[in-house]
Subunit: 169 residues, 2 copies
């Protein structure tokens, strides 16, 4: 038996949502998950998937997951992989399952010719930071992450642009 | 005349690459750009574009660009927009062109139902940081960006996984 890494299918969405909720609880934001099974099904398992998901089964039990999508580097002029989530349930830790998931993502990056594999980690998550550093990861600490949420997006979309500044020739 | 924001076409790739190079020079990494026109054409203007690009023309001259792609939030269970590049040539600054580009990206986010618009900024780029803060952006400073480059990716892909640890039943 041991650990098996496999591509998720539509039949896994209940489990994927359970993993997402467990990860959010670990990241101290359990109330932040508003994702639904329907949305995950639509976005990951339709004709043009927006994300891709791997499941780690250990002795036949779902033990962890990795969820990723493709981003784009204008400096390299090619797509890379952005790892949105990597998580192993607490009761399955210490078995190398996180490393096995990351190895499979790295294999996919090689297959697709991607020169970059990126993700984010919370600054207090020392075990994860140490794990990533040991794998040869760089920390891009000079870059700050900026986000506009729904209300701010709508305010900007509806606000004055410089179209108002346009003059007729 | 004034400023016009339009979707880039395949005919713009030479200009897009020039913008990418000018932005990299501003970000003090001019040697980092290895992108080619062929690659930009393939990835942005084929049947399934990986990225999308807007061009700002000012009085008929290319003045700036915004380049974005879709990411995915597992907490929201829906796609968002990741703004990879937003840049206005130095000689066209102070005319509201950056704001007009960001407004158009925000309009697209609203059209697509995206609740998040994200990007990164260098920590020394105070004018940009002030501009973003004034627009209502949040800075997610508790998240560190982690990256594996080509060599590290291959080392992990080729290295031992816990497949070796699997035992037969």
């Amino acid at each position: 038996m041991g650990t098996e890494i496999r591509s998720a299918t539509a039949a896994d969405v209940t489990q994927i949502l359970a993993f997402i909720r467990a990860l959010a609880a670990y990241e101290r934001a359990p109330e932040a998950v508003v994702a639904t099974e329907d949305g995950l099904l639509r976005d990951g398992f339709g004709p043009n998937p927006i994300y891709f998901c791997l499941i780690a089964d250990h002795d036949g039990q779902p033990a962890g997951f990795a969820l990723y999508f493709y981003n784009y580097s204008t400096w390299l002029g090619q797509p890379g992989i952005y790892l949105e989530d990597l998580f192993v349930l607490p009761e399955f830790r210490g078995l190398g399952i996180g490393k096995a998931l990351l190895k499979r993502v790295a294999e996919i990056a090689v297959e697709k010719g991607c020169q970059r594999l990126q993700w984010e980690v919370l600054d207090w998550n020392t075990p994860a930071i140490d794990f990533y550093r040991a794998m040869g990861a760089e920390f891009l600490d000079e870059w700050r992450n900026v986000r506009l949420n729904g209300d701010a997006i709508r305010r900007i979309a509806d606000g004055p642009g410089n179209r108002q500044m346009e003059t007729q020739p």
